[in-house]
Symmetry: C2
Subunit: 240 residues, 2 copies
């Protein structure tokens, strides 16, 4: 990641940005937030689809939030298969796997045209000295990540691929709604279905069949780039 080549002027505020929420919760007022954002965070992009933000093993010096677009993190299994470990939407934190050992566990790749917001650990520590509440905000967010991964692991153990897929789609929709703050049943897929397959530990063929089954059962409507959720996930147990 080379900021010098890619630095773009921040045109609009990071409305949904996690860092902004941190600052708000820590008690900063609007002016302070603007100042803190401009002096401590760096906006990087655009990354083109398929472009790497960083590679596994590289040094990690910062926290990252998706400013616009979508990021996936992926790793290669010992037998050469590609595994997508997560998708990250606008406003979401990613790269937290690098915090402990200061280098990344997974690659990060842009799924679509993407900008990210970088906040170096150095700047974070300076901010944290001025605003002690910030550390607690980060701890809380990391706890959220852990809880989410726990639930992710749970649904990864559903026997039928249809169920894992439905659970993934529901989670995606929830995160979209959380960001937009409005009801919607539409998921605009930034990632390919092959990527979804790699995330769920399945083949594209199986995903295709599972989507067909879910559609036939009336749970979703499946188009090329969009998926509509027609029933709540709580109806899942009725899926046969």
């Amino acid at each position: 990641m080379n900021p010098k080549l890619r630095l773009v002027k921040q045109r609009h505020r990071c409305e949904h940005c996690l860092f902004r929420r941190f600052f708000l919760s820590a008690g900063l007022n609007c002016d302070e937030i603007d100042q803190a954002g401009q002096t401590t965070t760096t906006n990087i992009g655009p990354y083109r689809p398929g472009e790497y933000l960083y590679h596994a093993g590289e040094q990690c010096n910062a926290l990252y939030v998706v400013h616009a677009g979508t990021v996936k993190t992926e790793m290669v299994t010992f037998d050469g298969d590609l595994h997508v470990s997560g998708f990250y939407l606008t406003g979401e934190l990613f790269g937290a796997d690098g915090i402990n050992k200061r280098n990344f566990v997974a690659d990060a790749v842009a799924v679509e045209n993407t900008w990210v917001c970088e906040l170096t650990f150095d700047n974070w520590e300076k901010l944290a000295m001025d605003y002690p509440g910030l550390q607690g905000q980060l701890i809380s967010e990391l706890g959220r990540v852990i809880a989410h991964k726990e639930l992710e692991a749970l649904s990864n153990h559903y026997h039928l691929l249809e169920h894992r897929l439905m659970s993934f789609l529901s989670d995606l929709l929830n995160r979209i709604k959380e960001r937009q703050g409005q009801q919607s049943n539409e998921i605009e897929l930034a990632m390919t279905k092959t990527d979804i397959a790699r995330y769920l530990g399945a083949t594209p063929e199986s995903i295709s069949r599972a989507l067909s089954k879910l559609e036939k059962s009336g749970y979703i409507k499946n188009t090329k780039r969009k998926i509509y959720i027609l029933k709540d996930q709580s109806c899942l147990d009725a899926v046969i």
Copy 2:
């Protein structure tokens, strides 16, 4: 969890306790550590095998570390299957899934006779005010948990159960060695093989068969309560 009924006098220091490492890293000297430990942490136990430490959904007011014994966390899938989301050995942090929303995502159950060390968020915040380095320690530890879960998810997608099982055993051995600080190839299993099955998303029958295969291939020696690792996990790709 009722401290009043269960509070036992702390007989020996928490040598391997995560909290102790936090205090050390934050720059406390031995006297301060002893004082901080005695005034802010509570030692609870013994929990008997199968006994619940807390249930999913209950309020979470503290950080927990295994003082002695083994803890498993588990959740029930929508179709009634039990899923073990993690095993926690002496000295390891658990319950971090409750930090964000202040209530637990998974149940915590004692696997063997177990004592745990409790540090309430209230006490944590008091400590953090006196020793600012502590917050960073916790952030780092949560980052470690996230990185571990990422790698866990990776190996959960290995195609063959033998590989997932071998990966689990290697991870377990690494954690044991990390605590003991000595080389060893022996894993004393606190959990049943049925629990391992529930952790790996498999049936006890499949685990039994996978263990047999790994033993025939010379990777492990399998006894009732102990497993010996005979080859490094890096040889995994040779498993057929």
